[in-house]
Symmetry: C2
Subunit: 489 residues, 2 copies
Amino acid sequence: MGMFTTSSTSGLPETMAKTNRSLEHIFNPRSIAIVGVSSEPLNFAATVYLATSLRFQFPGPIYPVGAEGEEVSGLRIYRRIVDIPGQVDLVIIAIPASAIPQVIEECIAKGVRTIHIFSSGFSESGEEEGIMLEREIVALARRGGIRIVGPNCMGLYHPSASLSFGYNFPRESGPVAYLSQSGGNAFHLVRAAAARGLRFSKVASYGNAADVDESELLDYFAADSQTGIIAAYIEGVKEGRRFIRVLKEATRAKPVIVVKGGTTEVGMRAVASHTGALAGSNAIWEGLLKQAGAVRADNLEEAVDLLITFLLMPLPQGRRVALVGVGGGAGVHGADQCARSGLLIPPLSQKIVTRLREIFGGPGISLGNPVDTNVLDVSPQQFGDILKTVAESPEIDFIIAHIGVELGPFTWHRVEVLEGKVETIIRAARSFTKPVAIALHTAASARSIQTVAEVQQRYFSSGFPFYNSIGAAAQAIGKFLDHHQRSKA
Amino acid sequence: MGMFTTSSTSGLPETMAKTNRSLEHIFNPRSIAIVGVSSEPLNFAATVYLATSLRFQFPGPIYPVGAEGEEVSGLRIYRRIVDIPGQVDLVIIAIPASAIPQVIEECIAKGVRTIHIFSSGFSESGEEEGIMLEREIVALARRGGIRIVGPNCMGLYHPSASLSFGYNFPRESGPVAYLSQSGGNAFHLVRAAAARGLRFSKVASYGNAADVDESELLDYFAADSQTGIIAAYIEGVKEGRRFIRVLKEATRAKPVIVVKGGTTEVGMRAVASHTGALAGSNAIWEGLLKQAGAVRADNLEEAVDLLITFLLMPLPQGRRVALVGVGGGAGVHGADQCARSGLLIPPLSQKIVTRLREIFGGPGISLGNPVDTNVLDVSPQQFGDILKTVAESPEIDFIIAHIGVELGPFTWHRVEVLEGKVETIIRAARSFTKPVAIALHTAASARSIQTVAEVQQRYFSSGFPFYNSIGAAAQAIGKFLDHHQRSKA
């Protein structure tokens, strides 16, 4: 049994045992056992946890454990945890709930440090039996100095330790830590963020939070040197005051983006039967998150936009934005969305408009702000000059440059074509200091969506924040500015 | 000169001339001239209007007109309209604004019936010169009995007449008519709707509405036998009372979905410099549209969802929905979104829950409503039985069945796999009468987005409405129910 676990749980009160250090070993196991594996082709434990561990080339030993079969993927299947020859740090359990206490007994005998329980059928069932079973396993594990992740969750993703529950998750690390009470939402946010170029430090899908809970994960991520920003999908918390205290400390260290699931009456009822948590009213959460310095996202898509904004967007001096790009209707709608997000779209001064007209003086171009460069595309040189001129305008603090990929007769379905347009913006933007956000919008067909995704991925390293619509950019940047204004106050 | 045009404009007051019949010939030209064509490789008129007419195999003669070159795409380039040997019904003009009056004079001499002016530089410029020029061309055209579409717009799309301004628009017809003041938004909505399986009867991008305007188009579409539903993107109207009267009549004939651009102060300023229209405040439009029986969409994406709902969703008896699908977090969030859209998510009776438990009695399944069939996928047989059982529940009026394509360990990237799941839902849904909407959600990667798009296209003919998220389904169906409730009242 590991030193930290032993010392931090032996006889000390529960709150003392929950130190940051105690989670370090959870994310860094040196060996894994997977309970519930069989050689059946559709076996869940094998097709998910074993296959993913092998794909991530987990460097330590992997021990399949199951009641049947001799071998899977070239690895021997052990009948019981105690049959395993070496030390086992992490045990992943995917067998029916009722059989789990026996496995935990074996884990204690074996000196296991962490158990992740995928299985459901515990407190979230709302039934006495499941509630009692959850209490039983927690008591058992505490007695043996074992930490539990779950039950009723997907578990842990730590790419730099080659640990993952998502087969197609990125192998590389990044600055985003994420805690998600829902397994599905853990998958969704990781994949949606990865598709935009983001990468993760550590992710925990923690389900019922019977032992390791949201506060402890938040506290750990706040101190984690791999992590630059934290996202959370939370349905409910069990110890409200502790959570608020930890959240306040965490937001002092790094930005924390929170998606709250279950904010309507029926949503709260759904929460109760999903993870057994008490959801709390929308108004309470709104106040709580604001007061603690967290940033609230309405949904996972917005959470990804906020992650990109807080990681990549330099803080503008103020709220005055210039919208520059092709498409009059898009500009009108974008202006509406900017206004609704609390941004200001001041008219540009006559001096600037005159200079813009010198650069691109054709008819049908609205140069006031939004600056509509019209459906007849301007040259890259002209577009760059327009951006530079707008950036020099004392009326504005930052620019949203936008490209409508299916907004005109010529669609930008080809990656090279869209890249050329993005290059133009980036080259111009590097010549001035005002922040520039880039929206690649109106991707309507699967083909242009794919092109946009590919370009966003490739240009993530450029350091410019990319969005899928002017509205998404406006909303995220609006919240970014709100957050900094509140922090200053 | 055609009979309708002659008789309907010769000496009759303007309002009399604007009859439904007078637009019939606009959408059904027998010959087209395209002014502004050259043999230059990037020539706009040639690469857009000529190339599109050829791709759509426009059956009548196409006459390129331009100052330079002898031939383009195997067609002779005429110097002037009057040089063209045959009758010319429609003239598309894409040359600088100042040169247009002269072309119109020629059109009058030639007996042209309709002119579509792509070019900008008219009233939308806000400048005296452009405003006067617009007045001049309208007066000229009226004198010659010619109707003008535009200026400052993309023009006409009428697939059954092989007329189009979008090269990659569908060749087939469908029930949706669409009028858009913005050319970019005309492109975007047509493409976004086409990607979901919708097809169009007739589309007009009408820009500054100097002659043919929103009221006339609306009136025409309302009487058009090809059209089953009307969508509109409107920035502003010039004759408010006439518009309200026409809109009221139109909504009596078929559903009318309206996206209003420019609803904030800055958005209205953007409208003024985009199409020169007076936008009107958000509150005025909200009341006006409601009173006239139209359905307001907040943006083009929601407009597409509403088109699908009004075309395909049978009217539920009430607002009580059951959410059935995989994903606890998705269900929680979906329940929140349903509640916000004015839908009710009643708990299912104990009798139904007991029967559901008999079908799929594993742990970790919330059966209350949302009915979460868990990340461990149920069999098609079980999923079908669950749907049928839920449909029998007297507590609910309709079902949103949802599939999270990237919400679990196994993603449904392959079309065949997702189709199998959709088939299960459709087969079950055909065995009962309560309406079923299908949400294919959480497509995070370009690959799964493509798969979802393909499946939606293929299953459009199944008659079931498909959505990209539970929230989008809830919002559209909520507005659909609101609309019918208001109509009854």
